[in-house]
């Protein structure tokens, strides 16, 4: 498999063409707007979290490259039904997957994004929606506006 095919696996191309949960959740309990000022990728992540901290609905909406869009699509698919705690743990695992040499991480089918590691300038693309998720679920910023820079 070439580097390119490793980066853009079939599943990524398919999720880019048909992103899942590609919408805003309304009403929502959590929100964040993530922006990459270097390339213009821009997404809003919205969630409805129940009183017992379960993610009932999650959506992302916006514009960006195949990597960022597929990452958002796979993220929302994976997170629906998890607790906030489980979601944040998965987020940490996903970040380890694409930024460290850690081999033994449990991320399920998000493993298809592993190829991004070989393309350092694209790591931020894959992380954008996850950074927004983190911002939405925790009080990392008052405005819930985050950037990759």
């Amino acid at each position: 498999m070439s580097n390119l095919e490793h980066l853009y696996q079939e599943m990524i191309l398919e999720h880019n063409k048909n992103p899942r949960h590609f919408q805003e959740v309304n009403p929502h309990t959590h929100y964040s707007h993530g922006h990459n000022p270097l390339c213009g990728d821009d997404y809003v992540v919205t969630l409805r979290v129940s009183s017992n901290h379960v993610i009932e609905e999650i959506g992302f909406k916006g514009d960006g490259c195949a990597i960022s869009k597929a990452s958002g699509s796979l993220m929302t698919q994976k997170l629906k039904g998890l607790t906030v705690e489980e979601a944040l743990e998965l987020k940490d695992n996903f970040i380890s997957l694409i930024t460290t040499d850690e081999e033994d991480v449990d991320v399920g089918k998000l493993i298809v994004l592993k190829g991004v590691k070989k393309f350092p300038v694209r790591v931020k693309c894959a992380l954008l929606v996850w950074r927004a998720l983190e911002d939405a679920l925790t009080e990392t910023s008052d405005s819930h506006e985050i950037t990759t820079e």
Binding site: S2, N3, L4, L7, Y8, L13, L38, C39, G40, D41, D42, D63, G64, C65, A66, I67, K69, F119, V121, R122, C125
Partner: protein, 404 residues
Amino acid sequence: MTRFTPENPRSDFSIFTHHADLVYLDSTATTHKPDGVLDAMAAFLKEKNATVHRGIYGLSVEATDRCEHVRQQVKGFINAEKEEEIIFVKGATEAINLVAHSYGKAHVGKGDNIVISHMEHHANIVPWQQIIESEDQLRVCQITDEGELDLEHLKTLIDNQTKIVALTHVSNVLGTVNPIKECISYIREHSSAKILIDGAQAIAHMPVDVQDLDCDFYCFSGHKMYGPTGIGILYGKHDLLLKMPPYQTGGDMIEFVSFEKTTFAKPPARFEAGTPAIVEIIGLGAAIDYIQGITLERLQEIDMELFELANTELQSIPELNLIGTAAHKSPVFSFTIKGIHSHDVGTCMDQEHVAIRVGHHCAQPLMKRFGVPATARMSFACYNTSDDIERAIKALKKTIGFFI
């Protein structure tokens, strides 16, 4: 002596020996440097290094002479009237900041306005925003769908409260070559505004004669004209510079300093606080030697050949949407491809060793104007060849095939 090979400039650039496979199409961001420039810089550091202005010893006197010689070279290169009109700065960005903070702050008051255009680089937008009190003081000339200045709109923006008009000579995104001389003569007739031209994308591609243009300020960066980074030029009319306060203060720019009072040196020293980028100045001189050796006529000829071929090839790709189709263009091509984000285009092209730029190109308002978040951009310089274009088009078609 700077080696130059007008019939095959590519052979003057060692980078292509080290990367024989490289198709470099990002010269709008920075050009490569011919060996003559690199050799001149290395030779200076190895054999002649010393500070300028202060030294009583021979090496320093020689270094000073070398730098002042480059000032004369620049004066000749852009046909300034006096060498005092040539100020060494870090690059075009610093030049614009200098004018904004020195001339602009002193002359743009409440109710006054500054006119720019919709195709400006952030470097010719943000410095002006910093010196105005309210946003309506910044007036923006519209551009057409082809990416040309809307001259009729420009005329409606200029009035007797217009203090500064700042326009780009050539757009870094659209490639449009603006009718600067025509604009300047209109502005002169209808206002007393001072005129700054951002020449960053023009200087290595066409002859620039600041007296003929009759602009008040003209600026450019060394690294977009085959020279090093960290050096650029601000040209300013002498009578204006004489009246302008310093932008930065410190050593080299003073006449006399006491704790009570400091008097400032005359231009250009007044605007050159601190030790200048000495070896970069030497490099800039060698870059001018290189351009003059190849000749601007030959550079324009190469541009024209590359433009025609690339334009025809790109237009023949049905999925490709070219942004910027002005009648008078430099070889800069911004485009989007339906269904493929420019970032993905850039990564795929890189796998074929074709280096292009993707993103907003420091021109977010322009991206918004054309309703795109980002574009891919190919830009050309004298070392590019028809083979580069062939390989770029092949890589582009492969990219489209991969995604669509």
